[in-house]
Amino acid sequence: MSKNWTGWAGRILYIDLSTQEVRVEPLSEELAFKFLGQAGINAKLLYDLTGPETDPLGPDNPLIIGVGPLTGTMAPCSGRFSVTAKSPLTGIFGDSNCGGHWGPELKQAGYDHIVITGQAASPVYLWINDGLVQIRPAEHIWGKDTWETDALVKREVGQENAQVLSIGPAGENLVRFAAMICNLSRAAARTGMGAVMGSKKLKAIVVKGNRGTTIARPTEFWQTVGECEKAIQADPLYEGASTFGTSAITGLAQMLGFLPTENFRKSTFESAENLRGEILLSEYAPKHKGCFNCSVGCSHFYSVKDGEYAGTVGEGVEYESLCALGSKCGNGNLPSVLKANTLCNKLGLDTISTGNVIAWAMECGEKGLWSEFASETPSWGDHRGLNALLMKIAYRDGLGDILADGSCLAAQRLGGEEMVVHSKGMDYPAVDVRGTKGMALAFAVSPRGGDHLKGLPLYEVAPDPYKDDILEQVGITITPNYWLDYETKPKLISWHEDWHCVVDSLGLCKLEGIAIKPLKPKHFRDLLASATGWDLTEVELQQIGERIWNIERLYGIREGIRKEEDLPPRRLQEEVISSGPSIGEGLDPVKFSTMLEEYYQLRGWDQDTGIPKPETLIELSLPEAETDRVVSGLAARLERVVHAKG
């Protein structure tokens, strides 16, 4: 570890699985100071190492794993890491964020990033123990699920306290939305990073670190940590967040009429009561679980003791999974949702894309789109059929083989494209954005596709408790029924995007770092300054976020993304909400277009194409070479087909 680095470890580990070369390079100051760490540096590395010719499942697609300067320190909620690669699901920017304890262990081992290229000749796993980096045979664990793998490799390396990041059969079988799993149930899930890992025949990355992390100004750091913890625990939503986690949202989404149901055909679900967090807590979740250094502890251990799914155990379950495997599939059987969630974790599947593709299949089956697979296609609410099809997806069996390529490719092959609910090839999360106009914008413009995390305006639906903070931080005055307004949303969203980039690059969890409450920009600035010795203003830190946002945008631009893909899914554009409290709500095309134009203006992007303007990139100190490359690409826009190289 470099003596001069504090916060950061100061090292990047490069591993080529084709040649078995392992080397360590120092982290450059320029990279750290321009892109911060974790998601930001990952994005820049991916931008530099790949291009439109890169096959997402080929050896040249690097799997980049990164932690932030605050990961593994005693900063609150500092257990996060990011995984980045060209996505096999969308063909554009692939990026996934994960909690648990694996990321801090990598930092303790003395690395900020791992860049894995090439492809092993036969299955392998990595064992990283400080300066020791080994590529070990994994044929004997290829085919095991992630829970089995976790136990086996820890025994092999002789370290029960090692942290394991692995893929299950889904990643091995190159399911395009396969996930990477650590701590049995924490997932780097979206955009198919598990398939990239599987394409390299890499089964697991096992880490044990003993080096520690150096803090620049320890007394000041501890003081700031204390202030942050007080803010977190004094937040009026702390009790709810720590007790229920995201499962709290289900009941509210139903109440307010934005719970996606039956593949987004409806926005309320008659069995939503069964999927409420209160039911989970009182009947199935005896204990809480938290990630590294987190005083919220929002997750739960769950256990089903009776009935058809007795014996099901696991961790979670997040709102997104409750919706994806529940209401989106018309399934109100909570034990079956817990079973499906556990299966996704063991097999290594993104619950959101898995639930969405099954829901799409259910609707196609209902409409009689295919006779060949009719017997494999569950109907709405058929939880046994849902779990059976989930297994088939992981093992690419029958209909599962087609669905394993994701909703868009499956629809290109079987029909039903108009029923796929996606942006840029990635399935939509658990918000019916016809009722939340800001989220409609955020999800549509996200660089990784239909995504709820990169620009989430957390309090759009319930802004009143935070109206003073929103005014102070963002400069927006909340109006009644704010979530239905289009005005001011471009400013709200772009502000959140910048700060999400910062939080994702520092190593902090979004639950406490979604930038208005409980932690605010000043907290991020002070934590970074005291940990690293690098004093920035909030404006400078936000500009780093803006730079990261633009490099992620540029990645998609280079792959052919343009303005016409910054749109909500067709179903949500063309149909209004048909029932429930939000009945009649839709997305006004003129107002959405105006909102998008204002967003582009704020971002400094071309109004006709959505490409960041040269002057914007220059102001953000993104090299002019990129500017020229992108601008000249206007004349040669790639014909963009969702992962056509597949």
């Binding site: 009026p236 939503l237 009790e239 709810g240 967040a241 007790t243 229920f244 986690g245 995201t246 709290a248 949202i249 009941g251 509210l252 109440m255 409420r276 967090g277 209160e278 009182s282 997040e318 709102y319 997104e320 709820h452 995390l453 989430l456 957390l458 309090y459 639906v461 319930a462 009143d464 408790p465 979004k510 639950l511 979604i514 409290p581």
Partner: protein
């Protein structure tokens, strides 16, 4: 009366209950009744130290949010009304 999230906890992990009130009762009367039933655990989650209804206490009457800044004696309840007591916890993930 239906209870969500921290109010579910406040009333002893109860999802809902029927509340009988006299004709002409208001939201204020209902809140006083709830206070008698469920005591401090509910009170501290509903009101701040100055006795004001917390902005994180949402009361919905027949699906419509009743403003915490409203006068509790303003809204008269009717037989068959469904009320929800919840907190606006909408965190992503």
């Amino acid at each position: 009366m239906r209870y969500y999230l921290i109010f579910f906890l406040a009333v002893g992990s109860r999802l809902e209950e029927i509340i009988d009130l006299e004709e002409g009762s208001t939201i204020g009367d209902l809140l006083n009744d709830l206070l008698e039933r469920h005591g401090k655990e509910l009170a501290r989650r509903l009101w701040d130290d100055d006795g004001k209804l917390r902005p994180t206490a949402w009361i919905l009457v027949n699906g419509v949010c009743w403003s915490a800044e409203g006068d509790p004696s303003d809204l008269e309840l009717k037989d068959g009304d469904t009320l929800v007591l919840t907190t606006p916890m909408l965190v992503g993930g």
